[in-house]
């Protein structure tokens, strides 16, 4: 039920967004497919950046624990901020790469 509700909401706002965008610029199926491709590129890059950030964070915590007497929990990596910043990293990298 939750899934159907969410899909209906997203479908409605997508149709509205598409209709508004068509008034200002011509939007073809080819452009839409390209946009979906970019979304997949972003998802792939996001996964890479997230994995790299988690891996580096794990390394920092383990080394910090070994070198000092202070305890730092690995649960520090369970951060919504890290998730959002990884997504932003991937977005900026994607835009830069596409325009380079």
């Amino acid at each position: 039920m939750e899934l159907i509700f969410v899909i209906i909401l997203v479908a409605i706002t997508s149709v509205f967004g598409f209709a508004i965008a068509r008034r200002t610029r011509p939007v073809t199926a080819a452009v839409l497919i390209k946009a979906i491709g970019r979304l997949l590129d972003w998802a792939g890059l996001f996964t890479l950046f997230m994995a790299a950030n988690l891996g580096l964070g794990f390394l920092f915590v383990v080394v910090f624990r070994e070198l000092t007497l202070h305890f730092v929990s690995l649960y520090q990596l369970e951060s919504i901020l890290l998730l959002i910043l990884s997504a932003a990293q991937a977005f900026v990298f994607c835009q830069w790469h596409n325009r380079a």
Partner: protein
């Protein structure tokens, strides 16, 4: 002209999007979770050991910590063991009351006598909890414990406690794989599975279990 890297990144993107939908919509996370989870075995024992799960900054128990404490008190009230061992350090290792102290206060409110409660307030990880608990229980000649934690954490916790020589009977505070059925919950469950599997691999590599 797409390079090999661009193709790899797009392929990874396709994989991640498919995995996201499969994890959210299908019961795959629940099925995998049930394989990782440990089932409950309850018998009379020497002590009930309730593992830490964390405090909120205000000094109140977080949801999981509360569930484990309630389960521990419930088992004590059923007469499964005469001693309740409550674990948990202070929030962020500071000087505020420890999780164990907050839990002990709650247990007393629920009718557990002070002399039946033991607090262990300095363990930061599951491994440290096993070492500190085992060293304390060895002095009391205790061999068999009921271990209280959530079902996904139980596999690692049970193995690390058994490594200290204790006989461990698992008691589940929450069985997430069978109680989460909504898409957002399933995504959280998938993340917990990755987290717990990584922790298990780390414990094996480090020789803790």
């Amino acid at each position: 002209m797409t390079t090999i890297w661009e193709r790899i990144i797009r392929g990874l993107g396709v994989f991640v999007v498919i995995t996201f939908f499969v994890a959210a919509v299908t019961p795959v996370s629940n099925i995998v979770g049930q394989k990782l989870a440990v089932t409950e075995t309850l018998q009379p024992s020497d002590v009930i050991v309730v593992l830490g799960a964390g405090l909120m900054q205000s000094g109140t128990l977080n949801n999981e910590s509360m569930r484990r404490t309630v389960r521990g008190v419930e088992l004590y009230k059923q007469g499964l063991a005469p001693i309740l061992v409550l674990l948990g350090p202070p929030f962020d290792g500071g000087s505020s009351p420890t999780e164990a102290a907050v839990r002990a206060r709650f247990a007393r409110t629920m009718g557990v006598p002070s002399e039946a409660i033991i607090k262990i307030e300095n363990s930061m990880t599951t491994r440290e909890e096993s070492i500190h608990t085992a060293s304390l229980l060895r002095q009391r000649n205790v061999h068999r414990i009921i271990l209280v934690t959530e079902s996904l954490h139980m596999r690692r916790a049970k193995l690390v406690f058994e490594r200290t020589g204790l006989e461990v009977l698992p008691a589940i505070s929450t069985d997430y794989p069978s109680s989460i059925l909504r898409p957002a919950g399933r995504l959280w469950l998938a993340m917990r599975l990755v987290q717990e599997s990584t922790a298990l691999a780390y414990y094996r590599l480090a020789g803790y279990i």
